[in-house]
């Protein structure tokens, strides 16, 4: 079947089999490899993307189901066109708080964090744990990921501006 999906603001069209998941569509048709394939059956969260602004698991959605929706992947995490290598506030907070080691889970974690901070700009640590409860990390032990999201929350509220406003 022919389908068209809006991914990061661009329409991507292809003739695919109905069994193709949104995960495979994003990686193999759109060529965006930042969305990671982990378990491919909905338990790890590595494949998390934003569908109409909400974090979802792309391996649990058929590409055909996503027609007419807007998809955002890690490559366009904060909407603005950045230079290669430039990081969004949440990504930068992950680096600073050592919220990643191998990085396999990180795109999913960052997008889960983004959805959380959109709904709740000042989450408690407990709320952060709940928001990433579906995302597995085999490296960090999670504590630093929570630190990173708390740091990102603080920065997104502009609290890391120098005191003199400079």
């Amino acid at each position: 079947m022919n389908i068209t999906i809006d991914i990061n603001g661009k329409n991507v069209s292809a003739a695919i089999e109905p069994r193709v998941t949104l995960l495979d569509f994003v990686r193999d048709v759109a060529g965006l490899k930042g969305t990671h394939a982990g378990c491919e059956h909905g338990v790890c969260g590595a494949c998390t993307i934003l569908l109409d602004g909400e974090a979802v698991r792309s391996c649990l959605i058929l590409a055909a189901q996503a027609e007419g929706s807007q998809i955002t992947t890690i490559e366009a995490v904060d909407g603005t066109a950045r230079q290669p290598g430039e990081l969004s506030v949440i990504q930068d907070a992950f680096c600073e708080a050592h919220g990643l080691q191998c990085g396999y889970c990180t795109p999913g974690m960052v997008l889960a964090a983004k959805t959380l901070l959109q709904h709740n700009p000042t989450p408690s640590r407990e709320q952060v744990r709940e928001a990433i409860s579906g995302n597995m990390c085999r490296c960090t032990g999670y504590v630093q990921i929570i630190d990173a999201i708390m740091l990102a929350a603080e920065r997104l509220q502009g609290r890391n501006q120098p005191a003199n406003g400079a």
Binding site: P18, R19, T21, E54, V56, L60, I61, L62, R129
Partner: protein, 294 residues
């Protein structure tokens, strides 16, 4: 993990869904897909046709029907969780929904999908049984309904004919103003399948006399079941301890249930935990009422 091939259709009426199901005996309906897609990926399900019901508008509505709240089968769990009507009239459902999957699966998973999937440890079927919800189904242009208590007949097994589609779920609103609810579950990991779960919905009159006590357990047997506890409870002097009558009644009700055993938990563990969770659920519900009355 890739599914086997299948065809995919996206009908825009319920009757069209029924005719697809009638013409393809092994067709499967996809709602949110949060249970079906993993089953496809693991090839536990190999339908020749997948029928997407997400484009039938009336299935996604929550309707206030005076004495009932009617939830469309396709209403997403996240939508129900943030819906003010659900919060007001179905506090037990709102409480249970926070335990369903994770935020990212609730964004896609649906209320109806969870009911029809009928996982023995799932929260929404447990709530439906507790509240005696009616599940409205269309089969070949004919509508009929099941009470949740008769709908579930085994693990992943329900009374729904293979050619039928659940279209809405009708929850009776509480008749009294003094309502208390409780929901507890134990799982190996956060949001994992519950090893045992308990839900309580209690209504009391203005004098503090409990008129309706609904208690049910999930996760410990093949499908969620009501625990009949017939105990007089008077909250007019505030809430005290549950009392041995209630504790005994819960234990006795659990005794008649066939508890499952698997590699995750023994039957005796599940039974003990279920009894404790049931007590906590009732306790929470009574505390809420006592607080309202005071």
């Amino acid at each position: 993990m890739k599914s086997a091939s299948f065809d995919y259709v996206r009908p825009d009426t319920l009757d069209a869904v029924c005719s697809c199901l009638a013409s393809h005996p092994d067709a499967r309906i996809i709602a949110g897909g949060q249970s079906l897609v993993p089953m496809l990926a693991m090839r536990l399900a190999r339908p020749s046709l997948v029928v997407d019901i997400a484009h039938i508008d009336e299935l996604s509505a929550i309707r206030d029907d005076d004495d009932a709240l009617v939830i469309g089968a396709m209403v997403r769990q996240a939508t129900a969780l943030s819906d003010p009507l659900v919060a007001t009239h179905l506090p037990l459902l709102a409480k249970a929904l926070t335990h369903v999957g994770h935020p990212s699966t609730r964004a896609r998973g649906t209320v109806g999908g969870s009911l029809v999937h009928a996982d023995p440890s799932a929260e929404i079927p447990l709530v439906a049984v507790t509240l005696g919800a009616s599940l409205r189904i269309r089969d070949a242009n004919e509508d009929f309904e099941f009470n949740a208590e008769e709908f579930f007949i085994g693990p992943m097994l329900t009374m729904i004919p293979p050619t039928a589609c659940l279209f809405e779920i009708c929850f009776r609103k509480p008749t009294s103003a003094n309502v208390g609810t409780g929901f507890h579950e134990i799982a190996a990991r956060r949001s994992d399948y519950a090893l045992a779960a308990a839900a309580a919905h209690i209504e009391a009159d203005d004098a503090g006399i409990v008129q309706d006590l609904r208690l049910a357990i999930g996760g410990i047997s093949d499908f969620p079941q009501r625990l009949p506890v017939d105990v007089n409870i008077d909250l007019s002097a505030g809430k005290t301890n549950l009392g041995s009558n209630l504790t005994t009644a819960i234990d006795a009700a659990l005794d008649s249930i066939d508890v499952v055993e698997d590699m995750h938990a023994s039957a005796s563990y599940r039974r003990r935990v279920a009894a404790e969770l049931a007590r906590r659920a009732v306790d929470d519900a009574l505390s809420e009422i006592a607080q309202d009355l005071s």
